[in-house]
Symmetry: D2
Subunit: 355 residues, 4 copies
């Protein structure tokens, strides 16, 4: 029998808050431990008066012993690098982990250390074996059995989630060229976390659209890793994120060149539909209907749509998710579900509160 | 001596309002006629209590005789198609026109009729000669003398303005491939005009990012027309606009493949800087500084930045403008200035009110 | 046994959409009819691709016979005046109604006709008896038995809901003066509905705060009606709504003079807590914690907080709700629940997706 | 001859940025010194790439000697308390000061120390004489000659500016009761400054309206000080600020009881118009037209409107300003103008860029 008691570490950040909100409405999983460094010792109801939990827990320092005593599963919503300090002691104590950070998303520790240089210097690591063992939790493209059996799941980043859901069906079928792919992505400011930063102030970020991390953004290599695996050979892509004046939502507009110029948008829509036929959390829109991030806000759903330009031979795949749900906490809960022996989509909201 | 009395037709729409606001602070041009169908007969101060004009004019039906009696120059901010009904009678009466609509942006009437099919059916036209005569008012790329001498100037669309300013220096020098160009553009909702539409309601458009007009948006052909002229041969590009949850601002992220893989971002920045050395309304940011639409809000300035990805061989040019100023009314005033014998940037704001 | 099949009339407006979203997650009530004039004949999945219903119904013209054949209960989300044309034939056919419009909120038809003059002229009515029969569906202040037994429930307006929840406990206890009460209310733009209006465009309403309907707003009399009943004598108040640059949320800041200058904020908080001890959808915050509309967004919860100014003798009660949920559709579902023999809060979300 | 060289201290905060933007368009005043602690040593063009100054100054530590060498006038945009450390040495060196902080807004140092307790403990002061000497820079209600001759001007707070402009004409004429006044104020988040704070993040503050500082907000006593002086006796009021999901703009909705129940809205509008007939920066709207903060955005204008409720005897005055311009930097420039021997409104924008 799989344990269903869950610890949430980093409870008052956005990843933690969102995980708690999802678990709050969950029919099977139970919140039994709240971990946080800054808010340690505070009663939850004082800290977050607007989100009452069934049991008014006190936030505790994330001590592995205490977590292991209280929980079977732990969701870690911690800064990159810091997560890697907590994961090994948790696994040693039998706590299975869903890590929302980037620490175990690469099967190679060396690659992580290269891509996350600053964090690697701050947090020396030698857990290569764990990096290899960790399962990449993109539920729609990983074997459910592997996730169900995993000790450690690395939940994908928000940009990789939206991008990979759009790209992988075409890469798998070999329908697009693996050079010259452009991913132009747009995200709300909550993706930057809850820690106060000047550029994320409403006064700065409202009425503003701007690119950032142009060329070499960390998520590029994360996307290329799985894309390459599915394509069967290296994939090279141009990924450019943009900050949007909104709280939540992420749209990836993916441009790729079709190998077969005869393919139509309808063909590609059929193909995409087939790829996600059994995925409760992914839906494909009819040709000519384009996804709005608002249509998936506060849901664990990804909405995809395809268009083809006969004139230029380009395939355009649009992919909208909520960056904090399907792009983070919701995906984490999908993994928790599988690890607890449940259906992946158990307890996850799929319908938005519109408008 | 060039006349400096200006009529603004379509005064209470966003193009008209913005033109009036710019003329209000103008040292030389004078507002002498306000035209509008719906608000005809109303005193300006009642209609728009927050924008007092030096003379509290009454809005009049846009009668060519009356306009010609009052003004030397006219700015037309009318729906596509409708503008073409007013331009010929104005020119006949000696009024020189800056048209903010798309009606004279193509040198071929047949192309306009194909691209703007619905408008072409509603407004039958036979003014091919005027289409050929009209000067495309992208001041930075047109001869100032031609605009100064023109009877009719077609102000470019907002997306073409941002896109062309980014692309043309590279096309002119032959530095990028003319196939496979991707323009991923993001605009605020004011680009959709002031007429009430459900999708532009705050309740719909706030907290939402979505693509629209994917494949075949009208501005594609407008961009390709001038791009092809400057490149010296046909250019084919993929243009995808996205609606952003903000009032103003437009960002075009342009992806193109460099012909010479040895070019660096610094090289490209130098080249871009040289291209706009004498353009008061275009500035190039240093490598690594990316433009925010907020940095140009309510100014007539375009901010450009370049990045190069060695790995993929892609050039990325980012171009930010205010869609209602450099993308519409401000560009119109640049043209008016030249037509009135002034410096193009006379009276135009270049510094934003931040934040 | 109470029927649980529900018809939603006016399905694609905000009230209808929100009702459907709430029923979608409801464990007992079933959506069996979608009514709408403009979208009649359209399949729901085409009309609203982002909110799949269990059964992909076709929207029908709201014919009383058809509604009665399909449903036991109907929620009407129609323009004021129009609802009164549909309610009598529905009741005659045994369909019990929750009306989200203002048509049955006054027990006196004459008063409605005075307050809603334009609508009264457009829709002549003679259903005085129904106005008297209708139960005002402010669940926390009406007898649950009366609502459970009602044929017709008039769901309160959004402003009255927030205002009355704040005022009634103090009026009932006779703790505040019934003259000089000031209600300064702030609402998101979704309160204005989904029909396109210029002033609700994002370009107009974003970055803008303004009062409207100053002196004599219709909700003034609606608030005074129930306030007077609970106080036991006439109450006169100043109600001023303001439009906020956001989609959802309503905050009423209520100012009243305390009769007993010795009362503290703590006393008043205890009193308020006692008044709502058994109300699952109302919570009282500790002194010094003030409600944000964001804390109740997309929930059916009202959050109240009290402050007292010793110096001035003023009581300040702050009341935050989601205007489309507790202020409209959620309140409607509370009533439906009681009418169907369920707990009032069945199936209603009380925890927000923050941020 | 009055000196016109201006130092701006705290240049990269919002008050400083806004002051610089206004001086940039100013025909007479010249920016000759940029002071800042954190950005000391940085070239302006690197620090703020979007706001080029005529001379690309280097930001310097705010050393009184250096300031005195470079400037005749200084605008201080520093945290409360800190300003009081710099003002005396500047005055000693002959630099005249406009202080945007609260440090010299009270004529009594003791009162400042009581209201600003934390700052008073951090910054011990003994400059009582300066507190008495300082002129309160609400230009419309202070003698222009006093400001013109002042060594030290304390620019009013944003809330006091909007509130006092609304209240003073009625208090001066004795038309309203001086007890029971309610000021319900709404401000954009830029009022909280540029330093990063969690509650001002876009993810927190967007789609949210909430009160703060309920009962006893510091601006209460600032408003009461001048209100009492103009009324000729003590005035007691209830002031409640609310945070709005927008960048700029401040609306004060002021409720007061009319002494003479016969006064109409039209009467009060005439009176208000008369009070501000000679004030270029204040305009009164016709009865029934209510001010939007958007109508004054990025201008130094205050827009007022009056309504009267016959039924309740309440006067409602609505007052909209831009919190960073008329509520801060623009008001500072009005004072600078007078001190430099110019018209108060010289170089100040009065027309908004709408939308």
């Amino acid at each position: 029998m799989s344990g269903k008691r869950v610890a949430v570490i980093g409870a008052s950040g956005y990843g933690g808050l969102q995980t708690l909100r999802l678990l709050l409405g969950h029919p099977e999983l139970e919140i039994t431990f709240l971990g946080g460094e800054r808010s340690s010792g505070k009663r939850w109801s004082e800290l977050v008066p607007f989100l009452p939990l069934p049991t008014d827990l006190v936030v505790s320092s994330p001590d592995p012993e205490a977590i292991a005593a209280a929980a079977d599963l732990a969701v870690l919503s911690l800064p990159n690098g810091l997560a890697s300090q907590l994961v090994p002691p948790l696994l040693q104590r039998g706590v299975r982990v869903v890590d929302l950070s980037a620490d175990y998303r690469y099967s190679s520790l060396a690659q992580w250390q290269e891509v996350y240089g600053a964090e690697a210097r701050q947090y020396p690591r030698s857990d290569s074996a764990l990096c290899e063992e960790a399962v990449y939790g993109l539920v729609e493209w990983e074997s459910p059995e592997r996730i169900a059996a995993a000790r450690l799941v690395a939940a994908p980043g928000c940009f990789p989630t939206a991008s990979l859901l759009a790209l992988l069906p075409f890469l798998k079928q070999g329908l697009i060229e693996t050079r010259g792919i452009v991913i132009d992505a747009k995200t709300g400011t909550s993706g930057g976390g809850r820690a106060a930063k000047e550029n994320l102030l409403l006064a700065e970020a409202a009425e503003a659209v701007a690119p950032y991390g142009v060329v070499g953004h960390r998520h590029t290599s994360e996307i290329e890793q799985l894309a390459g695996q599915v394509a069967g050979h290296g994939v090279q892509l141009q990924f450019t994120p943009h900050l949007m004046p909104m709280v939540r939502g992420l749209l990836a507009t993916v441009y790729a060149r079709l190998r077969d110029p005869g393919l139509t948008a309808e063909d590609c829509t059929v193909l995409l539909g087939a790829a996600y036929r059994h995925s409760a959390c992914v839906a494909v829109l009819p040709v000519g209907t384009y996804p709005s991030t608002k249509w998936v806000r506060q849901t664990n759903r990804a909405l995809l749509s395809v268009q083809v330009d006969k004139r230029t031979g380009q395939l355009i795949v649009m992919s909208a998710i909520d960056n904090l749900v399907k792009g983070q906490a919701g995906q984490g809960v999908q993994c928790l579900n599988l690890m607890a022996g449940l259906e992946a989509s158990t307890g996850l909201p799929l319908a938005p509160f519109y408008p």
